[in-house]
């Protein structure tokens, strides 16, 4: 395009007071109108609003503009909005440049004068670059109508069922031998006190029975390739030494195991109950297929055992000691990550005595005790078999604490109230809640708080600083809790028989590997980061990868389920569109210049580059390239180029910045 044919329009947004409160937007527009090829420059309160958009469309029509610069917020937020505006007005959408004068200038500048200068520089840079931008056509490809869901807690279960009910195929990968996640451990759920099993187990079996869900338990995703619409994933399947296709779930093998007594701490019960080497984590597990633990099974450990389990299985022949790990491959169009959380280990807080005193429990352990199918059949009994008469619950253990997790774990106050209620109901014990602030902001939460107060649960405002184990006047051993009752303004010593620690929720084990595997980001705490906290709460920085549930941050079941359905809807939107338009910012290699040195091949983080042995040049697969630009920067011969980020465009941008 000839330079004199360029007609650029510049639009400076006030963003309410976000920008205009710091920068003089009228001055910026005046400044822009003096830049080369600029025909129109305006400022307006909200460029992204309908009148703002219409302003651009009108000018394009009226003045025959053929390049647009919007000086506003980050392109992450509204680049797509304004590209659509160009398209609607008949322009190629890639003839747009955004000058980010909000995040890069207004929000981070206290000094107006230097801010104004920097905003001018940003605008000049965008005008310089847009003049060199070329019309681009995005490539498009069909979407594989199948979704991978990682994690089979309530989030993963809900998302999988919604998608499968909508007619999509789902691959559900769960690391444990059963799905259900944390919710499967609970007896009742706040605030409604619904029985967890009654609302969860039907969903679990629906997953198993659904013709469109392929359930892969005891498995983990090994690798992911490709991009939104066409991912290739490999799933590593761990051997349970029992063939899922042959097992009928009669559990006679467990009965028959040579281990007559239960000896091994059951992981699902957090060690509060014991199991055999061959076991089902809990009676309602899905799939109802036992697992053999190779660490403790005599046959697997020593090769020597009567193998009474095999006898019991008889002609079903489901037990297979030769089973090895294997890999399965799937193609999917979208991915939902729902790997949940784990609870904080309070052992480092030595003053709470967890691990030192048998009377100190984590809340999750108590959930197991309360569970009707748990280790004590739902009775609140201490490790020595006694029923506690006084129970203390310490809030915020590991939460709201800069030494551990500065954030509030959101559900602990409520589950503490739930535990208090259930404990009073089951054994009539006095219950003390040691809290900092009661956070009950959900629907019917405050009412639940009030209800527990009326039930006679005690509330002491203060964090426990010391727990000792004393014998009090012939009462046997009791814990003595030291707390400052900050409402009374004095230190109190309260004897209890059982102390429950309301432990924080933290990112699940292995969250960091999951993050790297799927190329998503996380917050400083390690929870997965949404693309935008308000406008894209289940999207991630990786297109086609969505997040749901507690892996994104601590949350309760209602919020988890809502988010799971939101993620399912986003996945559906992607799949039902049928095609994916790729951002045309991909890199390509000029075959005439490439020396075949292969520097780029190993550097590409997405394995998109392969050497063409015959021509001795590097070839970039446009369907795998994500436009990160690594190869372009690395190429020693300058053979690699990237659309939307050509050297010309970048130099023009720099010139614009430096000229100011």
């Amino acid at each position: 395009m000839m330079a004199d044919a360029l007609r650029i329009g510049v639009y400076v947004c006030h963003c309410g007071t976000n920008i205009a409160g710091v920068l003089d937007t009228a001055d910026l527009a005046r400044f822009a109108s003096g830049l080369p090829h600029v025909h129109v420059a305006r400022d307006y309160k909200y460029m992204c609003s309908e009148p703002g958009q219409e302003l651009i469309r009108q000018d394009i029509r009226e003045y025959g503009l053929n390049r647009i610069v919007v000086a506003a917020c980050s392109p992450h937020l509204h680049e797509a909005t304004f590209r659509k505006v160009l398209q609607e007005a008949g322009l190629n959408p890639y003839l747009l440049a955004i000058a980010n004068i909000r995040e890069h200038v207004a929000w981070i500048t206290a000094d107006r004068e230097s801010g104004q200068k920097r905003a001018r520089a940003q605008i000049a840079a965008a005008v310089g670059r847009v003049a060199r931008q070329r019309p681009l056509e995005p490539s498009s490809y069909p979407v594989t109508p199948r979704v991978l869901v990682v994690g089979g807690g309530i989030a993963g279960i809900q998302a999988a069922l919604t998608l499968a009910d909508a007619g999509k195929e789902v691959i559900l990968v769960e690391r444990e031998p059963t799905i259900g996640g944390h919710m499967a451990k609970f007896d009742k759920t706040f605030p409604t006190l619904d029985c967890a099993a009654c609302i969860l187990t039907p969903k679990m079996s629906a997953v198993k029975e659904h013709p469109r869900i392929r359930l892969l338990t005891y498995s983990e995703v090994e690798s992911v390739q490709g991009s939104a619409g066409r991912f290739k994933v490999k799933v590593r399947r761990r051997p349970r030494y029992i063939r899922e296709d042959l097992c009928v779930g009669c559990l006679q093998c467990i009965e028959a195991c040579v281990f007559k007594a239960l000896k091994i701490p059951n992981e699902f019960d957090l060690g509060l109950a014991k199991r055999k080497p061959i076991y089902l984590p809990f009676p309602q597990a899905v799939p109802p297929v036992p697992v053999i633990d190779p660490q403790t099974c005599l046959r697997l450990r020593t090769g020597k055992c009567k193998q009474t389990c095999v006898e019991a299985c008889a002609d079903r022949q489901a037990i297979d000691f030769e089973q090895q790990e294997w890999i399965e491959e799937y193609e999917v169009g979208a991915i939902i990550i729902a790997t949940g959380f784990r609870t904080f280990d309070p052992t480092p807080l030595a003053y709470y005595g967890y691990g030192r005193f048998p009377e100190v429990y984590t809340a999750l352990e108590v959930e197991r005790l309360l569970n009707a199918s748990g280790p004590s059949g739902g009775e609140i009994v201490l490790r020595d078999g006694a029923t506690p008469r006084v129970v203390g619950i310490v809030h915020c253990v590991g939460s709201r604490d800069h030494n551990y997790h500065p954030y509030c774990s959101r559900v602990c106050c409520m589950y503490a109230l739930k535990l208090a209620h259930l404990i009073r109901e089951r054994c009539g014990a006095e219950v003390y809640n040691f809290y900092i602030d009661i956070r009950a902001p959900g629907k019917a939460f405050e009412e639940f708080y009030e209800r527990t107060q009326k039930e006679g649960v005690h509330f002491v405002r203060g964090k426990v600083g010391e727990v000792e184990r004393l014998s009090t006047n012939g009462d046997g051993l009791r814990l003595m809790v030291t707390v400052e009752d900050s409402l009374l303004g004095r230190v109190r010593k309260i004897p209890v028989d059982m102390l429950i620690l309301a432990v924080a929720l933290e990112p699940a084990e292995g969250a960091e590997q999951v993050r790297q595997l799927f190329h998503i980001s996380c917050s400083s705490e390690g929870f997965f980061l949404e693309k935008h906290p308000k406008l894209a709460p289940v999207n991630t920085a990786s297109d086609g990868v969505f997040i749901a549930g507690a892996c994104q941050g601590p949350k309760d079941i209602p919020d988890t389920v809502a988010q799971a359905d939101a993620a399912a809807a986003q996945a559906l939107a992607l799949i039902d569109r049928g095609v994916v338009e790729a951002e045309p910012n991909i890199a390509w290699v000029d075959e005439n210049v490439c020396s075949g040195c292969r520097v780029c091949v190993s550097l590409c983080p997405f394995d998109a580059i392969t050497p063409d042995e015959e021509k001795q040049v590097a070839v970039i697969d446009p369907t795998l390239c994500k436009g990160c630009g690594t190869c372009v920067a690395a190429c020693p011969s300058g053979a690699a180029h990237q659309d939307l980020f050509s050297t010309e465009e970048i130099l023009a941008e720099l010139e614009g910045i430096l000229a100011q």
Binding site: Y351, C396, H402, G462, G465, E466, T482, S486, V491, K493
Partner: protein, 376 residues
């Protein structure tokens, strides 16, 4: 956030009219003038438990309490008289006892190993050893000083001391709000240290070590320093061949607050003890970051009567019970204050025949065949 964890963690929190949380609340409310008249102001023993645990990382021990005390002193409030005397002595003589600086070398009289007194003949040394006030003047601690001199010499370390020129480093008075006195000591010590050539400073007193590590650099006085426990533990390979004489005893170790909670250094002292043949190390129910303070820090050393009056107990007496519960024969310490505090507490508990209090240095020296047997 007013969680009160500081108060409930404080070994004297229940006895304070204005415990740490309350002080923050009063400061918010601009009513600190109420606080400064209360005995609470002088009750913090600088154990650092609250600071270490505070979920908002508020540095109560080393910042809030000194500020409150500084404010009290500025308002003309008199600290308890015992303390006034101690600080006057510090100001006049550079030690809390009020002894003459010339007597600083008394501990080394008749010592068979050579003592390089740099104040007399300056020469470059590897280790500048700050002996400290207690080991210089206090008879029980003088034994420890002599044993240390023997160990350093046996290890072939080129060490020297400052003799009559050595002065206290001033940690306790800083905590006590005597910021001015502290600054004066820092300035004097900085000028003093700069006159000599050494690779590092080694100290017996954990409080002084901590002051040198954390507060001196704020006044531009940065010197490489180590507490003797880490210094010796880093040379354990060299020490081991010397450790021939078994000490057949159950030993429990009391973490001092400065090397322990403040510097989170818990292993070196234990490594030293475990290297001694015959020693069976047992832990008290509260150990490492959870250890209970001996009550001697932050001026507490001089305020036993005052704190007992207002707090109803002496922490060293409580702590001795913890040690006795373990059934240990020896309570090992690594702080000059503790030696005297705990020996006294053992007497109060009438447990002299069951429990001995000994510095790690003494135990090492005994096993190396060099010790005088202090406290045995």
């Amino acid at each position: 956030m007013q969680c009160g964890l500081c108060t409930s963690s404080c070994p004297l929190g229940d006895a304070m009219e204005y415990p740490p949380r309350r002080i923050i609340a009063e400061a918010w409310n601009n009513s600190l003038e109420r606080v400064i008249h209360s005995p609470s102001v002088w009750m913090c023993v600088g154990c650092y438990t609250c600071s270490l645990r505070c979920p908002r990382e508020i540095d109560l021990t080393d910042t809030v309490w000194p500020a409150v005390r500084d404010y009290a002193l500025q308002e003309g409030i008199q600290p308890p008289p015992e303390l006034r005397t101690a600080f006057q002595n510090l100001y006049l003589y550079g030690n809390v006892f009020g002894y003459s600086p010339r007597k600083r070398l008394d501990w080394a009289r008749n010592l068979e190993v050579t003592v390089r007194d740099l104040s007399k003949s300056p020469e470059p040394v590897e280790v500048l050893w700050l002996v400290g006030c207690y080991p210089s003047y206090h008879p029980r601690n003088q034994v420890v000083a002599r044993d240390m001199a023997r160990i350093l010499t046996a290890l072939g370390v080129r060490w020297g001391i400052l003799g009559k020129e050595e002065r206290a480093l001033g940690d306790c008075d800083r905590l006590f709000g005597e910021e001015g006195l502290f600054e004066m000591l820092v300035e004097n010590n900085r000028r003093l240290f700069e006159r000599f050539k050494f690779e590092k400073i080694v100290l017996l007193d954990p409080h002084a070590y901590r002051a040198l590590e954390k507060f001196y650099p704020r006044f531009g006085a940065s010197f490489p320093a180590e507490h003797y426990t880490t210094f010796l533990a880093s040379r354990l390979d060299q020490i081991r061949p010397w450790l021939k004489k078994p000490i057949n005893a159950r030993v429990t170790y009391h973490d001092n607050c400065c090397v322990g909670r403040r510097c989170l250094c818990f292993d070196p002292p234990r490594q030293l003890l475990q290297a001694i043949p015959g020693v069976e190390l047992v832990e008290m129910k509260r150990n490492r970051e959870h250890a209970l303070c001996c009550g001697g820090g932050g001026g507490g050393m001089w305020l036993d009567a005052f704190i007992t009056e207002h707090g109803g107990r002496r922490l060293s007496d409580v702590r001795i019970q913890h040690a006795l519960e373990t059934g240990a024969d020896i309570l090992a310490v690594s702080c000059p204050f503790e030696l005297s505090r705990f020996e006294d507490a053992v007497k109060v508990a009438r447990a002299e025949d069951r429990l001995k209090v000994r510095d790690i240095i003494e135990l090492l020296a005994d096993s190396m065949g060099l010790g005088e047997g202090g406290g045995r």
